[in-house]
């Protein structure tokens, strides 16, 4: 089975500026691909290129095995949901959904059947005669999805569809989209700047920055083995701690020396390292640093550290320390006895550590 979407060596220039640089990505049928990155990274542009709404300078786009690089949007067998939903303001919900079918000359009877199906699926049957202005944000979202669903396309494209909603609604709609994906088994490409959305919805994530793909992988891969400093920092909230450390190779793997002010340096070990440059950035997620009195484990290394700030946050308590000159966040259980200004024993789970070259930012392990 050929991939449902295959992007090869895609470049897009706008005048002298390079907007997308050698992008390669593909997904199989039924996957949920999320393009994530900060504003201006090119993710929306890439989506528009996939849709055929923007031209590309070089490279190919294949949908369902067919070369669509120069095909107009209406013939690419896609459907798109926009950030602002882009519902036709002077048409009723029903007309909004059937507009595309009308343009394609589909029989009225068939239009009605498809409309009823989709309206039932999305539970918008009672809204069919209303105008977009009379709908709430969540309802408009569903109508926009209805318009997409009714096309029965090979590929669904979503351009930041939840960004305009308030936080609570966003979480609700996110779940709805996930359920829709599971029920339909459809292939979806989804753009967002919210890395939580990316992690919860995706089967595959493409992290982008400055028009270039930083990493492609499953949410777990991206989270646990980020390919470079940018991905490490961007994905996951709170962000991964990136601590400067001096490396010393000895017989039993590597040891990492981390400076501290007003205290002797913290030293951590990793047996599984074969070789590393002299200076690296040690990446540890906040949940991999724990309260030694509450966490037990043979593989965990314990060290005594000074607590700068304690932030209780309900189910967790965040504790900030200064290691290697940078602020380090530890995610402790709420029962922790950590106190500001006091010292405490912390566990460091080096099995989950990532190492990055301090100059290139590339992952070393």
């Amino acid at each position: 089975m050929s991939p449902i979407l295959e992007i090869k060596n895609l470049n897009k220039n706008y005048g002298p500026t390079n907007i997308l640089n050698d992008v390669n990505a593909s997904i199989e049928d039924g996957e949920f691909l999320v393009l994530v990155g900060p504003s201006g990274c090119g993710k929306s542009t890439l989506l528009n290129c996939i849709a055929g709404l923007e031209p590309i300078t070089s490279g190919t786009i294949r949908i369902s095995g067919r070369d669509m690089t120069h095909v107009s949007p209406k013939d690419r067998d896609i459907a798109m949901v926009f950030q602002s939903y882009a519902l036709y303001p002077t048409m009723s919900v029903a007309k909004n959904i059937t507009f595309g079918m009308k343009v394609r000359g589909i029989e009225k009877a068939e239009q009605d059947v498809k409309l009823a199906e989709v309206a039932h699926l999305l539970q918008i049957e009672t809204l069919l005669d209303r105008r977009p202005a009379q709908l709430s944000g969540g309802q408009r979202q569903r109508v926009a999805m209805g318009r997409a669903l009714v096309r029965n396309p090979k590929l669904f494209l979503f351009d930041e569809p939840l960004s305009n909603l308030d936080a609570k609604l966003r979480v609700e709609m996110r779940t709805e989209i996930k359920k829709l994906h599971q029920n339909l088994g459809a292939s979806m490409v989804y753009v967002t700047h919210d890395q939580i959305e990316a992690m919860t919805l995706a089967t595959k994530i493409v992290v982008m920055k400055g028009g270039m793909v930083q990493q492609i992988g499953s949410p777990a891969e991206i989270y646990m083995r980020p390919a470079n400093l940018f991905v490490a920092d961007f994905m996951g909230s709170p962000a991964m701690n990136l601590i400067p450390a001096r490396v010393n190779m000895n017989g039993k793997g590597a040891s990492f020396t981390i400076t501290r002010s007003a205290a002797p340096p913290l030293v951590l070990h990793d047996e599984n390292i074969k070789s590393l440059p002299d200076n690296v950035l040690l990446g540890l997620r906040p949940e991999d640093i724990g309260d030694a009195s509450l966490r037990k484990g043979r593989k965990l290394q314990i060290s005594n550290c000074h607590v700068d700030v304690v932030e209780p946050a309900g189910a967790d308590t965040y504790v900030l320390m200064t290691l290697g000159g940078v602020e380090v966040t530890a995610r402790l259980q709420a029962e922790t006895a950590a106190q500001r200004g006091a010292n405490m024993e912390f566990t460091f789970n080096m099995a989950k550590a990532s190492y990055f070259d301090a100059n290139t930012g590339e992952r070393l392990n």
Binding site: K74, F82, S84, P89, V103, R147
Partner: protein, 296 residues
Amino acid sequence: MTNSSITNPLREMMKRFVLRWLLYLLLCTFALYYMMPLFVMITTSLKNLEEIRTGSLMSLPREITLAAWSTAWSSACTGIQCEGLRPYFWNSVLLAVPAVLISTIIGAINGYVVAQWRFKLSNVLFALMLFGCFIPFQVVLLPMARVLGMTGLAGSISGLIFVHVIYGIGFTTLFFRNYYVTIPVELVKAAKVDGASFWRIFFSIFLPLSLPIIVVTVIWQFTQIWNDFLFGVSFSQAGTQPITVALNNIVNSTTGVKEYNVDMAAAIIAALPTLLVYIVAGKYFIRGLTAGSVKG
């Protein structure tokens, strides 16, 4: 630090009361200033010549007579002809209606292109077209007269319609463009994905949205074209003159006794259509005047 002196609340109230009345007085005075000419025009048109000569400018007519009005409409002399304003009123109608419709339609389509279908040079082209609104029309009078002569349109109402359309397109395009620019680009994208063509998107999506701007544009164009004098006087001849030219002829005719009451009646007749439009749809007119002039 705020300068707070302990003020007597009663004095504050009185001060505000007096200021308010002063404000209303000023506003009323100005209102009188603006109404005065209209008042004078109406009252003068209802007087007979004897009263005008012996009476005073702003006095109310002692005897109301409509004779001046009927003269103005059907027998005042505009040069050689003495048919009153009636034929010229219809000339203006025959001129204004097509010119307004055509220039509005073209402006709508142009505005649609410039706002939503930008291409490489579209902004430059738009700017060049826009510039045409701002030129003093004196600079095109001579060549236009020649072109109208060469195409046999000289002195005809069709020729005038043509001129008004050509020079009206800049403004109408501007109005529609400023309006269509506020419609999100994603609407067109969604329609494209739905398979709609350029024209389909215009007729099914943009046109239904356009009522407010159509009203503004029509009112603006109608006022401009009905009130125009320069093109009228340059490109028409005795039978095809618009009402503004005829009015000027009546008022400035050198033959016979000056009938001021007829002059005033004629002026009011000429002003009535645009004045009525203004009174009925005034706020749209104002929107048209300030469209594009104030940011935001």
